[in-house]
């Protein structure tokens, strides 16, 4: 990208498309849905310019299936949708885990249930963890800004390629539609990972041989290596193993280990004023921006508040939350849903800290004041807040 075009005013959904292209995505299977459509629109225009393909499929089941087909052809591929479409895509997400297809699904979360409302929410964060049948560990990132949407799209594509599995980017109507200045990094500043490829003798090749790192080196179609993707429980050759307890157990545990072996590398937690904090706010996505403002306001009032923002929703940052619970007395968890990640915080806190859930489901973004009110309400009595 020429230097004069490096700084632009973009909405999150557009930054997502640009991030994908920077990561090497050359196939997008779309289906229109508010508030995610701008990613598809940007891809429809931009992908052919870089030799890539955009196709609008007949539904979300088909759009993710087309992504799977392109991925098997060796092309980096993704889709973007919003909550009702995400429900349909869970079919292929579950299948892509066991089929070990690298792909990225972006969910620009809207308010649910049903058709719900096209405004923002964080109502699908538990669905991203548990929605796909099988209940295997998932990887999901959650951006709080337009630039972070760009960066995390690249990260999602990279991890999908490296681990050969579907990765989710859980953004929302606020970040997706918000316009911010974004300064694109230079191409040489962007780290791009590619899927592992086989190198041995094609005659000896077994497409699902997990090797030493649990990641099979599945070749792109059309070469000398014969590939059998299989979404039924299968052996190292990709042959269905029918009702064999040994292979069922192995399949589930190996696919799980692909994620759990990389928890430390995947975990991305940012803290603000946490060093001496006695009250912590735990947040993700755009809510964390409001929470940061409220934490700073609380400090001005003499309350020792801090923020932990997680970029990695899944795997959940258990170790970090456990340590935080030992340090602080109260953890406030603001979310644009009825309280979902707060359950994870509670689980990891294990009774070490009091947990305060702050929820908002009226389609409006949580404000700094809403979080601040909760901080003040739970502040230890010895810290008498200054009058406001």
């Amino acid at each position: 990208m020429p230097p004069e075009k490096r700084a632009r005013l973009l909405m999150g959904n557009e930054a997502c498309a640009e991030g994908a292209i920077a990561a090497g995505v050359r196939f997008f299977g779309g289906y229109p849905i508010t508030p995610a459509t701008e990613t598809a629109e940007t891809m429809a225009k931009r992908l052919p310019q870089v030799g890539g393909v955009y196709i609008q499929m007949e539904d979300e089941l088909g759009s993710l299936a087309a992504v799977v087909g392109a991925s098997a052809g060796g092309i980096k591929a993704m889709t973007a949708t919003s909550s009702p479409g995400f429900s349909l895509m869970l079919e292929a997400i579950s299948s892509a885990i066991i089929g070990e297809y690298p792909l990225v699904v972006v969910n620009v979360m809207r308010l649910g249930p049903g058709i719900g409302n096209i405004v923002a929410s964080q109502m699908d964060v538990m669905q991203s963890r548990w929605g796909a049948h099988g209940g295997l560990p998932m990887i999901a990132f959650c951006p709080a800004s337009v630039r972070e949407t760009f960066d995390l799209t690249i990260r999602a594509v990279n991890w999908s390629e490296r681990l050969r599995m579907p990765i989710m980017l859980m953004t929302d109507g606020v970040v997706g539609h918000m316009r911010e200045k974004i300064v694109f990094p230079q191409p040489d500043e962007i780290e791009v990972w590619n899927r592992p490829l086989p190198t041995g003798d094609p005659a000896e090749y077994q497409c699902f041989d997990p090797g030493e790192d649990n990641i099979p080196k599945i070749a792109p179609f059309g070469g000398q290596y014969r590939v059998h993707y299989n979404t039924a429980v299968h052996d190292h050759r990709g042959v269905t193993t029918m009702a064999d307890p040994k292979w069922c157990d192995y399949a589930v545990r190996r696919l799980s280990a692909k994620v759990t072996a990389h928890i430390e590398e995947l975990t991305d937690v940012h803290t603000v004023l946490m060093d001496d904090a006695e009250i912590a706010v735990f947040a993700y996505g755009p809510v964390a921006r409001a929470a940061e403002a409220s934490v700073r306001q609380a400090r001005e009032m003499g309350i020792k508040a801090g923020l932990m923002r997680t970029v990695t929703l899944w795997p959940f940052p258990e170790k970090e939350v456990r340590a935080m619970a030992k340090q602080v007395e109260v953890i406030v968890v603001p979310e644009m849903n009825l309280g979902q990640m707060v359950l994870e915080v509670e689980r990891c806190a294990g009774g070490e800290a009091k947990i305060e859930s702050v929820t908002r489901v009226d389609s409006m973004l949580i404000t700094p004041k809403q979080v601040l009110d909760s901080i003040v309400a739970v502040a230890p009595r010895r810290q008498v807040p200054w009058p406001r």
């Binding site: 393909v53 007949e58 088909g62 799977v68 087909g69 092309i75 591929a77 792109p220």
Partner: protein, 281 residues
């Protein structure tokens, strides 16, 4: 028509013979279909690694355990959508799309008609045995009126789909029907379908003697094939028959064949155009 090659050659080139015997019931039509398919692939003279198959779920969806082409498998009904993604991303590949009747016309019906509408260069080979065999013989959208199935214990009440009419109406540019009884014709038609530059459908009327046949008391595979052959009418003869006479008959032959712009080629023209204008900008 190409010479019929010894089975041993076909088996060594395209099958995982070490996996035999297959898991299929005795007399199942799948063996006929995949033998015809591999012979047709061989007859095209195109390199075997240029062929990929997108398969559905069901008995027919398990052919990849025995037939050795690069294989896409995901979920029930999604084979045409996967094939669409693969062909668009990799226009150099010959993409086969293998579905049973339930897979293609019930759960995957939407993907089938849209692949046909786009006229994307995919060869869809639908094996129609009129039932969900793997789950034990439930009725499908192609189960004939009055036939028995495990979920139609009083006989099928719904009218059935004509797969060829469906695909032709949706825009498929090569539409053919054949049967497992007519192996030589089936090989020839599949080869023509592969060579056709656009969406090609081959519907293969097949037999499920152990489940569908048993429930309807039609006897063994041989009896079913004989019955199938009695009902078969060539396209030429069908043209001389009234619609009343054609009721319940299986009309075989190439029912439609025409050349229309192919989607992948058209889209790559868009890429050329977009790249030229992006360079100029």
């Amino acid at each position: 028509m190409a010479k019929i090659k010894p089975l041993k050659i076909i088996r060594e080139r395209y099958f995982k013979f070490e996996r035999f015997p297959t898991t299929y019931c005795p007399g199942c039509g799948i063996g006929n279909v995949i033998q015809a398919l591999s012979r047709a692939v061989d007859d095209t003279g195109r390199p075997r690694e240029s062929f990929s198959m997108s398969v559905g779920i069901g008995c027919y969806g398990n052919i990849g355990n025995f037939l050795d082409f690069d294989e896409l498998r995901l979920a029930h009904g999604r084979a045409p959508a996967m094939a669409t993604g693969l062909k668009l991303a990799r226009p150099d590949l010959n993409v086969l799309c293998m579905m049973g009747d339930g897979d293609a016309t019930a759960i995957g019906g939407n993907h089938l008609i849209h692949a046909a509408r786009r006229n994307i260069d995919i060869t869809a080979i639908i094996m129609n045995n009129h039932t969900y065999g793997m789950t034990g013989g439930q009725y499908s959208p192609t189960t004939r009126l009055g036939d028995y199935s495990s979920t139609a214990p009083y006989g099928m009440v719904e009218p059935s789909f004509d797969i060829c009419k469906l695909v032709e109406g949706a825009g498929g540019t090569f539409v053919a029907r054949t049967t497992t009884f007519r192996m030589v014709q089936t090989i020839d038609i599949i080869r023509r379908a592969i060579e056709h530059p656009g969406f090609a459908l081959v519907e293969i009327e097949s037999q499920c003697p152990v489940i569908y046949g048993r429930m309807n008391r039609w006897g063994n595979a041989v009896a079913m094939l004989k019955k199938q052959n009695e009902l078969t009418v060539t396209l030429e003869r069908a043209r001389t028959m009234s619609s009343e006479e054609l009721k319940g008959k299986i009309v075989v032959g190439v029912l439609a064949e025409r050349i229309e712009p192919e989607f992948t080629a058209e889209y790559y023209k868009v890429i050329d155009r977009a790249q030229r204008s992006a360079d100029g900008a």
